[in-house]
């Protein structure tokens, strides 16, 4: 066997390597002998499949980027039903997408081990919400494993398959950004060589095992209700078992203060106690199964303490279960955490600093402090630290689309005002790189008011163009609702990327045509799922494992869904882009129909990466200062490579950042921006 393309594939038990949490999870799946892995890219979960796709052939596993999490989950479920070890990966928002099948699959359970890898994002570094997905797994009733670090992220994924097969239930691994996107040294274990036999038996162990509507009879009930009764029995067995899980540990202490630390809470606690010189002081229950709680271990802890403090990332999930459990058993012991006796915030990430301070307070020891004099110096320095708003990449094709959209909206709006219409547009955003069209400029103050009339908010850059933004596929639905509610003060637009188009908008597009909504849908097709790291999508022409595949054309799909007015444009051509979007909006407004613009150009980062390998980078651009009149139009394009010298009143282009797209040159009314050969590249 040739050496695998990633260290996670090395069959070297005992080896220690620095792995990203998600790479560690990939190693765990390899060690468990996983056979099918499916997911949809979503930060912070994506690197599991990215890593596995590099070694899929070495281990004879099927690894795929599915079109969305629902499909991925169903693919993995099917694999588990025929006995294969399978895994579905997703971010917090993706877990919402899988709930229908997840809630139903637990009624039948699985045959092959099935691990659901759900990556939460406290502090919402990369997400619409801070949602704690542990609630979802508890709601359907199955085992939750929660790792404390990269090592456990590997180990728990690995044992997750064993536990899943032991109870014939899917196992939910709840992990978080700080583990997935942090790295740590991980010790490898042995790789399971044997593979589960793939076989199908309709009545495996139970009649009509894989059909919730099948005439399965149990405990006086039939069908889904009978299956529910069976599931609850399995859950009871899991409740007993969690007391034996070696990743849960009761650690005696010298005082009568107790701490329950779940997942990364334990890692922070352990480091905090060293920092505070309080190692060995509290009793600690280190928890890796936030649901179900290991009640025997919890009881043993409570026998030895007078107070208990719960440290966990996300909602007070363990804490609330503890309230319910202790109401009968130990009502006299106060609970500290995120609810009544609050030591930790309920929002934002848990974080090391917060844990150090809270533990110090709880134990009555002194937390490290920054002296007052130094605080003052820092406060003074902080005043000059300019914010750095998130921006699209240099040469990003979305800059061209947003330039065209901005000027098309201005033009239409002016025309509508002449007809007595307010001309207040609504641009509905979606999830992808282009969502940065709604990140705004951090340093810019905004004044909000309660108004009753539609109001136009002018802007001069691509980062303030999206009026609404929520979730994958949200924008195209909102656009229809706005129209159906009778919004006629101006044009309605929805945007989405190509990966999002396939993930979440096709059914909504059919709905729009069928139910006669009118708005303009702009799909920004850059041929990849770019934001999460350029995973292939149905527009890429390759699969996760780089097998050539069909290239899907968005126009063809839209046409077959009934969209009659379609424009295709290259966003690097600013004039043509503005014209196409203008025509599409005008047509939608006049004909009261759905119109579509496909702005197609491959992601500039991908192009530059390829050119770096093969040579032939385009010439970069510079500003001829003698010609520049300081109008700032080029700056308004929003490219991070284009800056403005306030003193000289001249634009300039950063030669390191410029990728030679030439869009800024098109914005210049006096032809002051020209290409030049870049040296030292």
């Amino acid at each position: 066997m040739a050496r695998p393309r990633h260290v996670v594939g090395y069959d070297e038990p005992g080896r220690r390597a620095i792995l990203l949490g998600n790479e560690a999870a990939a190693r765990g799946a390899i060690e468990a002998g996983v056979q099918v892995v499916a997911g949809y890219p979503g930060t912070p979960s994506s690197e599991v499949i990215e890593t596995l796709s590099l070694v899929a052939k070495d281990f004879d596993m099927h690894v795929e980027w599915s079109i969305n999490e629902t499909v991925a989950f169903n693919v993995a479920s099917g694999a588990a039903i025929v006995g294969a070890r399978s895994m579905a990966t997703m971010k917090n928002a993706g877990t919402n997408w899988v709930m229908d099948m997840f809630a139903t699959l637990v009624y039948t359970g699985v045959r092959g081990g099935f691990v659901i890898y759900s990556a939460d994002d406290p502090e919402a570094f990369y997400s619409s919400t801070e949602q704690d997905t542990r609630h979802l797994a508890k709601a359907v009733g199955t085992l939750i494993l929660e790792p404390m670090d990269q090592q456990e992220n590997k180990d728990l994924v690995k044992v997750g398959f064993d536990y899943s097969e032991k109870f014939e239930m899917p196992v939910f691994v709840r992990t978080i950004t700080r583990i997935n996107h942090s790295s740590g040294d991980v010790e490898f274990g042995p790789i399971r060589k044997e593979r589960n036999k793939v076989a199908f038996d309709r009545h495996w162990k139970l009649p009509w095992r894989w059909n919730v509507y099948g005439p399965f009879k149990y405990k006086g009930k039939a069908g889904p209700t009978a299956k529910h009764a069976w599931q609850l029995e399995q859950l009871e067995k899991i409740k007993e078992f969690v007391n034996e899980v070696p990743f849960n540990k009761l650690i005696p202490g010298e005082t009568d203060l107790g701490i329950i630390a779940s997942g990364i809470g334990y890692a922070y606690l352990s480091d905090a106690l060293r920092k505070l010189g309080a190692v060995g002081k509290p009793w600690i229950l280190k928890l890796a199964t936030p649901y179900p709680l290991p009640e025997k271990l919890v009881s043993e802890l409570l026998e030895n303490v007078k107070k208990v403090f719960v440290i966990e990332e996300g909602d007070p999930f363990v804490e609330e279960q503890l309230y319910a459990f202790m109401k009968e058993n130990h009502p006299e012991i106060p609970i500290y955490g995120k609810t009544k006796n609050q030591l930790l915030l309920r929002y934002g990430e848990l974080g090391f600093a917060q844990v150090v301070n809270a533990v110090a307070k709880y134990l009555g020891v002194k937390a490290p402090e920054v002296p007052e004099e130094r605080r003052k110096i820092k406060a003074e320095i902080s005043k000059i630290v300019a914010p750095r708003s998130s921006a699209l990449c240099p040469g990003c094709q979305h800059l061209g689309t947003y330039w065209g959209l901005r000027f098309a909206l201005l033009k239409i709006s002016a025309e509508l005002r002449r007809q007595g219409v307010k001309g207040v547009w609504i641009v509905n955003g979606d999830i992808g790189c282009y969502e940065q069209g709604g990140y705004g400029i951090f340093a810019k103050p905004i004044k909000a008011e309660a108004t009753t009339e539609s109001k136009l908010w002018p802007f001069n850059n691509p980062y303030e163009i999206l009026d609404t933004n929520y979730i994958m596929g949200g924008g195209i639905g909102l656009a229809q609702g706005e129209f159906q509610a009778g919004y006629r003060d101006g044009p309605i637009v929805a945007v989405a990327g190509d990966s999002t188009f396939f993930h979440a908008t096709m059914t909504a597009l059919a709905n729009a045509v069928y139910n006669k909504a009118a708005f303009t849908f702009i799909v920004m097709d850059n041929a990849w799922t770019a934001m999460t790291g350029h995973q292939p999508s149905p527009t890429s022409g390759v699969t996760a494992t780089l097998e050539p595949s069909k290239v899907f054309k968005i126009e063809d799909v839209a046409r077959s869904l009934g969209v009659e007015h379609i424009w295709t444009v290259d966003p690097y051509d600013l004039k043509a882009t503005e014209k196409a979007i203008y025509e599409a909006i005008k047509t939608s407004w006049e004909k009261k129909t759905v119109t579509l613009v496909v702005a197609r150009r491959e992601c500039a980062l991908q192009v530059v990466r390829r050119l770096l390998r093969t040579g032939g980078l385009p010439e970069i651009y510079y500003v001829d200062e003698d010609k520049c009149v300081g109008c700032t139009l080029c700056v308004q394009l929003g490219c991070p490579a284009v800056g403005f010298d306030k003193e000289k009143k001249k634009a300039w282009i950063d030669p390191v950042l410029c990728v030679g797209c030439g869009m800024c040159a098109q914005t210049c009314p006096v032809n002051a921006i020209h290409p030049k050969t870049k040296e030292g590249r």
């Binding site: 630290v385 750095r388 790291g533």
Partner: protein
């Protein structure tokens, strides 16, 4: 070289695309070679390029968690000056060592005229006020001369290697070079080693002054 410490903390600051993540992993590998546990907390922005990125690196005999406390960083490696300042003001301990690349990358807030980029002299002044032991220079220029601007991160590392000589940092120049070789693609190793040496030399000259 003094006795290496049981726990040592670093921070790497820069913007997306500058190789902060790679640099943290190089440092992590070096610590691993010296038999330590390593945790690296990486925060990259939502954008693939251009966002503020910083890595917390915790090296120790027992460390489990990936984040630093205020004033806890023994060292700061700043690949971009504003980002260096942003993290120094929170994390760099008094007397901590720092390398400051002076090649600016303007935030869009500055481009749109709603924020001001501090002058390099102001940043240097702030590092002094924070009690940093630091060297500064245009490491991007050094990297370009070594063959590629992409080796800026490794040029900064070279300067750091000089700064920690004779201190209780848990690694040395040779280990760091070994770690660079292990992480950088083979066709870029030469340029990176050259950048490393240029950075080392710059720091050496500045420290002698």
């Amino acid at each position: 070289m003094g006795m290496a410490r049981d726990e040592y903390y670093l921070m790497v600051a820069g913007i997306g695309g500058q190789g902060t993540v790679l640099l943290s992993r190089i440092i992590g590998d070096a610590a691993l070679m010296k038999g330590y546990h390593v945790r690296i907390g990486e925060t990259f922005g939502a954008a693939m390029r251009g966002g503020s990125v910083h890595s917390h690196i915790r090296i120790g005999r027992e460390v489990l968690s990936p984040l630093l406390l205020e004033d806890e960083a023994d060292a700061l490696l700043a690949i971009e000056p504003l980002e260096g300042l942003r993290r120094a003001v929170v994390y760099l301990k008094p007397g901590g060592v720092a390398v400051l690349n002076t090649r600016k990358v303007y935030p869009i807030d500055v481009n749109f005229g709603v924020a001001r980029y501090p002058k390099i002299e102001e940043i240097i002044d702030a590092f002094n006020k924070l009690g940093a032991v630091f060297v500064y220079g245009d490491f991007t220029d050094l990297a370009e001369k070594a063959g590629t601007a992409r080796a800026t991160n490794v040029a900064v590392l070279g300067a750091y290697a000089r700064l920690i000589e004779g201190t209780d940092a848990p690694f040395d120049k040779e280990t760091l070079i070994e770690a660079v070789k292990g992480r950088v693609p083979s066709k870029w190793i030469e340029a990176n080693l050259k950048a490393f040496e240029s950075g080392y030399k710059l720091a050496d000259e500045q420290l002698k002054k």
